[in-house]
């Protein structure tokens, strides 16, 4: 059985408040904040992209795992904002970590769930003894069309998970289950700068159907019950959806609270559920069980059942906790935000 040997998470320093964006587009800030539940979001610096965020998160994971880079046989980077259309982000990341040259590496894309897809791939490779360790990263510098609802949520961040044998893991991944269909709720065509979405269609037939599908599928597969878990993480495109799905499934508010990051950093897309898991692991106690359900538009969900081991406390002593990056912030104006995100014509 595979598990998490090391993990790390990173969020850029800059933030923009929802009210700052609302002011520009003539929206009511209270309506936005109450509707989406997002107070502010993380904005990458002009010299940050999904590759640099990935390296930051992965370096923390490596520090915690204390594994030789040469023992990592696979690096997968999941993102919908890879810096190149053709040239793998995973190559830059592998080189920066020193895992080259004897490894397999590739980029993944599945809207907001490409990071958890990479975790599943690494689990399979570890379980089949193809590799000793595999590194799965979810990273994004997400784009929202100016004035669109997504502009309030599309944020930046990354989380990295080094997957290895359960015997040396800080958390064992007991099982996983996925639920996937062709559902056009959100997409970005090639050469388009910004994604498009189906508005209300992103809710019931997309997010709720797939999250519940993966959640119920794994619960049934494992013959488990909600009361056997201490924490639940549901993908957070906004603060409303994960709370609503938790209510539908009968999960208490208290059990989703530690992983709720979207109000303070926004939706980090491929980094979303992986960052939430990192925040829960930062505070988890040995023996606790965590149920994670990611969601990626298009659409699909990956569910994981995770149990924390007694190695957690020793491993997380090294490297910054996620709160270090969340608390170290600087607000920018909309004009600076537009510059950092290259929204001005001619940049």
């Amino acid at each position: 059985m595979a598990g998490i040997v090391g993990y790390g998470a990173y969020v850029p320093k800059y933030r923009i408040k929802s009210e700052t964006i609302a002011e520009v587009w003539g929206e009511d800030p209270d309506r936005i904040q109450k509707g989406l539940g997002i107070m502010e979001k993380a904005v990458p610096a002009s010299d940050e992209d999904s590759a640099t965020l990935s390296v930051e998160a992965a370096r923390i994971a490596m520090k915690r795992a204390q594994v030789s880079p040469s023992e990592i046989g696979a690096v997968y980077v999941g993102s919908e904002s890879h810096p190149y259309a053709v040239k793998p982000t995973a190559t830059m990341v592998a080189q920066a970590l020193g895992t080259i040259p004897n490894l397999t590496a590739a980029d993944l894309e599945f809207a907001c769930k490409a990071g958890t897809a990479g975790m599943q791939m690494c689990m399979g490779m570890v379980d089949s003894s193809m590799v000793k360790y595999g590194l799965a990263i979810g990273a994004d510098t997400a784009q929202g069309r100016p004035g669109d609802a997504l502009e309030y949520s599309a944020a930046a961040g990354a989380a990295a998970y080094l997957i290895g044998q359960d015997s040396e893991s800080l958390a064992v991944i007991e099982d996983t289950f996925s639920y996937t269909t062709d559902t056009p709720d959100f997409w970005r065509r090639s050469k388009s700068d910004y994604p498009s979405h189906g508005g209300r269609f992103t809710g019931e037939p997309a997010y709720f159907k797939h999250v519940q599908g993966a959640f119920n599928g794994l619960m049934e597969k494992m013959d488990e019950k909600i009361e056997n878990y201490d924490h639940f993480i549901f993908h957070q495109p906004n603060a409303k959806f994960p709370k609503a799905v938790a209510k539908k499934l009968g999960v208490s508010k208290e059990k989703i609270e530690p992983g709720m990051l979207v109000p303070t950093i926004g939706n980090t897309y491929s980094g979303n559920a992986p960052l939430a898991l990192a925040n829960v692991l930062d505070h988890a106690k040995p023996g606790e069980r965590i149920f994670v359900t990611s969601f990626g538009s298009g659409a699909g969900s990956d569910a994981f059942s995770i149990q924390v081991t007694d190695k957690i406390e020793e491993r997380r002593r090294d490297g910054y906790p996620l709160s270090h990056f969340i608390e170290n912030k600087e607000y920018v104006t909309y004009a600076i935000y537009a510059k950092l995100r290259k929204k001005y014509k001619g940049m």
Binding site: A45, E48, A51, K87, E330, M347
Partner: protein
């Protein structure tokens, strides 16, 4: 400001992982790496050495008139950093301006884009520094 692909490629180990060199004869560290120890000459024995990226600000300045390709980052801070292993190197201090910094402040290495001004060209990555908090 364009940099050739081959020059970037040769510098990747130095830029991505701060790979420098170390003379085992006199224990001196060099960054960028040197093939020969200037102190020990032929008696010197050079090995590859990975710097931690940790150090202190030795001196710094704020750039307001940037070279081509760096205009969008203005104003930004360039510093000479005294690395913990005992040599100095030049690098950008990210997420900070002059008023945030003073000589002697501890810094740590970070990985950022160095140059990406040509939309059709390769993106150049490498080490920079940030204040250690």
């Amino acid at each position: 400001m364009k940099e050739s692909i081959s020059l970037t490629w040769r510098r990747i180990p130095e830029r991505y992982k701060m790979l420098g060199s170390h003379c085992t004869t006199c224990d001196a560290h060099y960054f960028p790496p040197r093939m020969v120890c200037p102190a020990c000459r032929r008696k010197g024995k050079i090995e590859q050495f990975e710097f931690s990226g940790n150090g202190k600000i030795y001196s710094f300045t704020e750039i307001h008139a940037a070279p081509s390709g760096f205009e969008n980052q203005v104003p930004y801070v360039m510093a000479i950093v005294e690395l913990d292993e005992g040599t100095r190197c030049t690098g950008q201090i990210v997420d900070a301006c002059c008023k945030d910094l003073k000589i002697g402040d501890p810094v740590e290495g970070t990985f950022r884009k160095i140059l990406s001004d040509d939309p059709e060209g390769p993106i150049h990555y490498g080490f920079k520094f940030r204040l250690k908090k």
